[in-house]
């Protein structure tokens, strides 16, 4: 039987030391034995490395930043769809999810599917809402508070002990030992990601992560726990290893069951020396280390496409423990003509 072929648009092609999940997602999709894909890269900047990986990305279009407004993004996608006849879009960056979740119906009218959490699922797991989230779903979370003004910093000593974490609403987290350091981080983060800035209790322990895929009905299609082995100065995993941790898997499955999570997710947890788990963040999308899960036996990007197209979906219950990933940098050679083409026409 002939395999179906899907035209899939993927964002997050920034495969630098702060990598987006685009390239590892594409690697997973290309390894599918049940369907073929043509990959259309959606890039924000013309030096995102994924654009130049021609064995992985068949065609790239530049798209406007989400800050340009939903209409501008949709207009561009409409144009790209007229050329590429898109079947599916995988947005891979937190900051663009709002636009894509809100545009679900408009995209469907264009014949483009997505597999994303609902707006309610997306909103309630925001870092600023984590305390309520923990109470609602019975998960321990570090105490946190959102602040919108520098004047609030002095009052933090009433609720927090130092050190504490200063976090941006989308990205970035810094440890601060003094109010002065909080002030510095507050300024840096608010300038980059806006307000509020989240102040979080610092829990001592080991950071562990789980990648998972929920089918939207409360079932966990797959889940793989990992421990970071090497973290860059941007706090990103440069190496990691799959671990056998049933508590983490139970916690993930319980959360997906209760929230009926739809789509990919990453749970960031701290495991204390007393073997307690604190949820510090939920990323509402596939994380950049997804290819480790693929290599360990769970091709979650492939499963996501199968879910969306009503194909038989595997129910992954196993994965290989002790599977490692190590990132590396590699000089891609491009030509100024490629760069020029993208800069002038917005496509390549």
């Amino acid at each position: 039987m002939e395999k179906p072929k899907f035209n899939i648009a993927v964002t997050g092609l920034n495969n630098t030391d702060n990598p987006g999940p685009g390239i590892p997602v594409i690697r997973g999709l290309k390894e599918s034995k049940d369907f073929d894909v043509r990959i259309i890269g959606l890039a924000y900047e013309n030096l995102e490395p994924g654009i130049y990986m021609r064995d992985l990305v068949d065609k790239t279009y530049q798209i406007p930043y989400p800050s340009s407004g939903k209409e501008a993004v949709l207009e561009r996608i409409e144009y790209i769809n007229s050329k590429e006849n898109l079947d599916f879009i995988i947005p891979n960056l937190d900051a663009e999810l709002y636009t894509f979740i809100q545009s679900k119906e408009k995209l469907e009218k264009m014949g483009i599917r997505t597999f994303l959490p609902s707006m309610q699922q997306f909103e309630e797991r925001h870092k600023a809402n984590l305390n309520e989230y923990g109470d609602k779903y019975g998960i321990k979370v570090p105490f946190s508070k959102s602040i919108t003004n520098r004047r609030d910093i002095e009052e933090l000593k009433e609720d927090f002990e130092y050190p504490l974490l200063v976090k941006g609403k989308f990205y970035d987290a810094y440890l601060a030992y003094t109010p002065e350091q909080v002030n510095t981080h507050f300024n840096k983060i608010s300038a980059k990601w806006g307000l509020p800035v989240i102040i979080q209790e610092f829990i001592r322990g080991t950071e562990v992560n789980v990648i998972a895929l929920g089918d939207g009905h409360g079932n966990t299609v797959g889940a793989v726990p990992m421990r970071k082995q090497y973290i860059t100065d941007k706090g990103k995993a440069w190496g990691g290893i799959t671990i056998q941790d049933n508590k983490m898997l139970d916690l993930t499955k319980s959360l997906i069951k209760q929230t009926k999570w739809r789509g990919g997710m990453e749970l960031e947890l701290i495991k204390t020396n007393q073997n307690e788990y604190f949820l510090i963040e939920i990323n509402p999308r596939i994380p950049a280390w997804v290819y480790l899960a693929v290599a360990a036996g769970q091709n979650l990007p492939e499963a996501m496409i199968k879910l969306a197209f009503g194909m038989d979906v595997p129910n992954y219950s196993e994965y290989e423990v002790g599977k490692m990933f190590i990132r590396y940098s590699y000089d891609l050679i491009g030509d100024i003509a490629q760069f020029g083409s993208l800069s002038v026409t917005g496509e390549m």
Binding site: T206, V208, M226, R227, Q229, I241, I243, Q244, D245, V321, G322
Partner: protein
Amino acid sequence: MKLKRNIAISENGFLFNPETGDSFIVNPIAKEILNYLEAGYDNEKINQLILDRYEVDLVTLEKNMEDFFTMLQHNELLDR
């Protein structure tokens, strides 16, 4: 004392704890003791085996064994 069942020890003394993701390199005697533990021997039997094979007095051996087990416990390698 029981070594956790899923701990993997390679021929060259590389030990991997799949629950925590920690890995260790152990010296040949530590590897020997871990193999005994894996085989299910109790402390008394292990002490006897070491005493038979190496030139060591019982007091020194027991002190070192205690340190070693504390280290194993600390690194979550033993069943509680």
